[in-house]
Symmetry: C2
């Protein structure tokens, strides 16, 4: 059973994408800045998310990633599954053979737990998350912080406009 920073980062990044993608693709650099996740690490994660067909990529300037389908059709379980091997609590990957090919004493317990977790995370779509009040306010805060950070850098008007737009939209 592994649910670590990797899975959390993936869900966080996908939620960031869900919040900010209205039509234009979002670059990993933006997500990296807002969610404070290493850009190179995000690249690895999105490679897997793309393979799982949860996102589509647009290359070249102005490119980035977009969600492959609507918010109510992407679930947290799918995201975690895409980057982690699985959210499986057994040590046998559900095969029931971890004691010399035979099922061990606690297999069914872990199997049941896995089902529980999977069922829970399968019930939560990105849409549900985006609609939450706390997510909205936290996102606002992050936009403001990102804006302040950008102020301290050299940037041209078009950069600022992009950020302002996604901020106030």
């Amino acid at each position: 059973m592994r649910l670590t920073t990797k899975g959390r980062y993936a869900v966080t990044a996908m939620l960031d994408l869900a919040i900010h993608s209205h039509c234009d693709p979002i670059s990993l650099a933006e997500i990296s800045k807002r969610q404070e996740i290493s850009l190179s690490y995000l690249e690895q994660l999105f490679s897997k998310l793309r393979q799982a067909e949860l996102v589509v990529s647009v290359r070249g300037p102005g490119g980035g990633y977009k969600l492959s389908r609507s918010l109510d059709d992407i679930f947290v379980a799918q995201i975690v599954d895409a980057v982690n091997e699985s959210i499986d609590a057994t040590s046998c990957q559900g095969k029931g053979n971890c004691q010399h090919g035979e099922v061990c004493l606690t297999h069914h317990l872990w199997s049941d737990l896995s089902d529980q977790i999977h069922h829970f995370l399968s019930g939560i779509s990105l849409e549900k998350l985006v609609d939450r009040g706390d997510v909205k306010s936290i996102s606002q805060r992050q936009n403001n912080v990102a804006l302040e950070d950008v102020d301290h850098e050299d940037l041209n008007q078009s950069d600022l406009r992009v950020i302002q737009t996604s901020h106030t939209a």
Copy 2:
């Protein structure tokens, strides 16, 4: 979030204890043989289980461990908690401060998930596990295997009697 071999071993060992302890204490050597867990590793785990007051120890020959209370008053969640730090899916240990002291975008999701898991594992007592049909049959198989293993070693009659007793009881 960590639920690895450590927690699984702990629950397995406690369940073994629950199945075999009728009155006499059970030595870690026995559990080690039946569940195929390193003896020294078991010692470390039981050190924590004892600190959590889930088991009591009896030193000296014929000694071992016994459950500290009845089967229906020990829950899987307590066992996992005792050896793992916690079954917490957040990266902030529930404090809500993983982004510069502020709550991050997905905190509530992981917090809810942690509650779910904890609630599920809190509802499963050793008694429930012992009563399961599959646990009974798997335990029988393990006893037979342990018996065969012992046959191949040098042993005296009293050793054999102990194992037979716990096997057929």
